[in-house]
Amino acid sequence: MNADYLPSRYVEEAPLPDGRTLLANLLWRTFLEVSPQEAPAARAILRGDGAGAPEALRQRLVDARMLIAASVDEAGFMSRRYEQTRYATHVLGLTLAPTLDCNLACVYCYENKRPGRMSAETEQQVADYVRRMLPGRKSVAVTWHGGEPLLCRETILRLSRAFIAMSDHEGASYHAFMLTNGYLLTPPVVEELAALGHWRRVQVTIDGTAASHDAKRPAKGGGATFARISENLCHAATRLPMVVRGNVDLLNPAGCHALLEHLAALGLAGRIEVYFAPVHPFGQGCRDLADKAAVSVASNAQFAPIELELRQHACALGFSDRGYLARPWLQQCQATSTHSVVIEPDGSLQRCTLEMGEDDRRIGHVSRPIEVNSENVLRWLRFDPTRQPPCRECRVLPVCFGYCPHRHLSGAPEEFACAEIRYRLRESVVFEYAARHRPDLLAALGPARPAAAPACPPECGGAPWTNET
């Protein structure tokens, strides 16, 4: 072994369907395919005992960063990145909830809902806060959250215009994001939002086709919401960067597959992003989740194979894959950063959206300096997966970068605190590699659909999927 280069800690080996072996470096996001004949020698080199192994193979391992310079401290590098991002002074991140009220009554909602809207006085305080914080920053990212943010459309329009003007004046870039249930995202509203510009992602949550979605996400008054949201999405996708999130539990995977077929049949595959996330029982609003018949929570260990099948299906339909290895590199949750805050309707500040409405978790108010020494601030700043066990020892750390800090701080069990990819690591890596570099392998990676697909419901346009709820 050349002492100048050592095996990286983050190399994952996985067999490819054609008999070759894939090496993936989870930190540097590099791949290398080796032939069956080369694989034993490659393994030996990566174990550190490759004396006599071909020099050309060793060089390929170096080029692909499976072997890295002995001077590079990978764990130290990640710690430094974590700190750099935590204390970054170039960005200002705001998550704004103009209301915690909502027009839907999702069975699994984690929020501590309450009526009330952001007042004109608070709007002014928020604008003043941005004016104070902006000088010297290169970018401002605003995420409209709720409750349902479109219940306060006028607030969004007024504050967005103010933020854009301030950013222009300071030479900072401005990016807007929104999480909405989509019910109020009607064509006239879409036009108003589109006229503002600067949208990066507008996310609508749809939990399958009509039967499963309407069971989980009914209107507050009890009506169905799928048809209207689906119709709104079709128009919105012509004017805004739409993302569909499907919340998945053990009851609706088939409904989510049907949703993919439905969206593809609407011609949206090339234009919207779709991803799936598990329903978890965290947050004050969903502590009685276990008693609800319409939800059956999946741990991340259970969710992992479901998610992989959904991603494979989405890929086959032409949706772009939001691969774990293609997401922003080494970027942690904004809750642990010092440059981002969550602003509640009354101007109270929080670190985490999961704690919105929890008065005892507040870190201050938008009109006053944050109390940096308060326990509510420090508990987030103490969290550092790159230095704390068990994350620091985990090979998946470069991919999840600690996953959701709220889970860790809440003492969630491992199967909820660890990212789903940990439970299907090899399969996921192979799928992402094939999707990007070897599409010829995709068909051989196994069925993207369950073997016994039930009969097709009428709304999914002939696709062999249906809802289970």
Binding site: S71, R81, A194, G267
Partner: protein
């Protein structure tokens, strides 16, 4: 920095700006450009059809010397933008090979004649050709060969400063352009049109370099470290991060499709638009028929009619003949691509970028650079991704924007 710098001075300045946003280009192209820089080697000089200097193509290369792209700059100093375009990906042609092959082709196509290359010319932006003098029986003609395809494009009488007709430009058709870029430039005044941009860029670079030096950091140290030793980030990279511009823009995920014939630029552009909108079936031949493509291309009216027909009446296109950057970027912010016209040529606009640099001493905005992200269906059967300066000296650039919206 003089307003007409040497190639070496120019390379240094271009490298400074390329380094400031190369990580963004990486994200757009999906390529690892971390260790790439603008090469200080002699750039490829590209002349206009009238023989005057026009562009300098600087290679973008990795630490191992491997070329990963081209940065096109001005060969006329501040008369043209500092950064005209950046093209990342496989090189369309190797200059040495292209020049040799075009000469060989000319020798074969003009038997008995003496052929001599006069170098590279831009014969209709962004098309690059090799200009060859063909001497036979005492008569000399100029033959322009496409550098990528090694195919004869046009013959010109020797000494002709420009073609008699600017094909594809005057008739409003978008097909195969052939014109003198120089002849389209507005009359030169006392101050070159891009003098302000060049001066701001030079001043900003000087200020940043001075502040970096104060922090003990040299931009691109002379002894380049091997890539593996650059990890974790060096002090220089940390310091440079402070001087990266604020970035704004949109990038639509649209794959490149090359035009199938020399006049199918609009056809291939529409093919890319249709694919994005979910209409994958029509071939270029079908689209060509729908938009009535003739021997010299097609018109915007035909494209509007064809787009509506090809989408089954679901999408309508409208023409904006003189869009501003604001118009185009706001439209792209709706995440629908557009057809954009440059003289005689149709291309796909799939995004834009605006970089705002701030003075390191005052913190105030000191320089803005705006680029369009273009899927150019030229060259035939290939195409190229380009990031082009939104400010062009020719008034006719980025004209005839075809915007799409769902038909009501």
């Amino acid at each position: 920095m003089p307003l007409a710098p040497t190639a070496e001075q120019q390379a240094r300045m271009l490298d400074f700006y390329y380094a400031s946003f190369s990580h963004d280009v990486s994200l757009m192209t999906g390529l690892d450009l971390a260790n790439t820089s603008v090469s200080a080697q002699v750039p490829l000089e590209i002349a206009d059809l009238d023989g005057s200097p026009l562009f300098r193509d600087f290679a973008i290369a990795g630490a191992d010397g491997r070329r990963v792209g081209v940065l096109r700059s001005s060969a006329r100093g501040a008369a043209l933008p500092l950064i005209d375009a950046i093209m990342i990906g496989q090189a369309l042609f190797d200059p040495e090979v292209a020049e040799r092959d075009c000469q060989a082709r000319a020798a074969a196509e003009y038997p008995g004649a003496t052929v001599r290359s006069r170098g590279f010319v831009c014969y209709g932006y962004p098309r690059i050709g090799v200009s060859i003098d063909v001497t036979r029986g005492g008569q000399v003609i100029r033959a322009i060969y496409d550098a990528h395809m090694t195919a004869l494009v046009r013959e010109l009488p020797a000494g002709a400063a420009r073609p008699a007709t600017d094909a594809g430009v005057r008739r409003g058709e978008e097909g195969e352009p052939f014109y003198s870029y120089s002849a389209q430039l507005p009359e030169a005044g006392e101050v070159p049109p891009f003098a302000d941009e060049w001066q701001r860029a030079a001043r900003h670079m000087t200020n940043v370099t001075r502040v970096l030096a104060h922090r003990g950091v040299t931009f691109r140290p002379a002894t380049a470290e091997p890539p593996s030793d650059r990890l974790p980030p060096t002090r220089a990279e940390d310091a440079l991060e402070d001087f990266r511009p604020a970035m704004q823009g949109v990038t639509l995920p649209i794959g490149l499709i090359g035009q199938e014939t020399p006049v199918f630029c609009a056809v291939a552009t529409i093919k890319m638009i249709l694919g994005y909108l979910g209409f994958h079936d029509p071939t270029q031949a079908v689209i060509a028929q729908a938009v009535r493509t003739g021997a010299t291309g097609t018109t915007n009216d035909n494209m509007i009619r064809g787009l509506n027909e090809l989408t089954g009446g679901k999408w309508a296109a409208t023409l904006v003949d003189r869009p501003t950057l604001g118009d185009s970027s706001q439209y792209l912010g709706g995440f629908v691509p557009a057809k954009s016209g440059i003289p005689g040529h149709a291309r796909l606009l799939r995004g834009y970028r605006e970089y705002v640099y701030r003075d390191p001493t005052t913190g105030l905005p000191s320089l803005r650079q705006s680029f369009y992200l273009v899927n150019d269906p030229y060259p035939t059967r290939n195409g190229q991704y380009a990031m082009e300066n939104a400010q062009k000296p020719i008034d006719d650039f980025y004209r005839n924007l075809l915007k799409l919206q769902p038909a009501t």
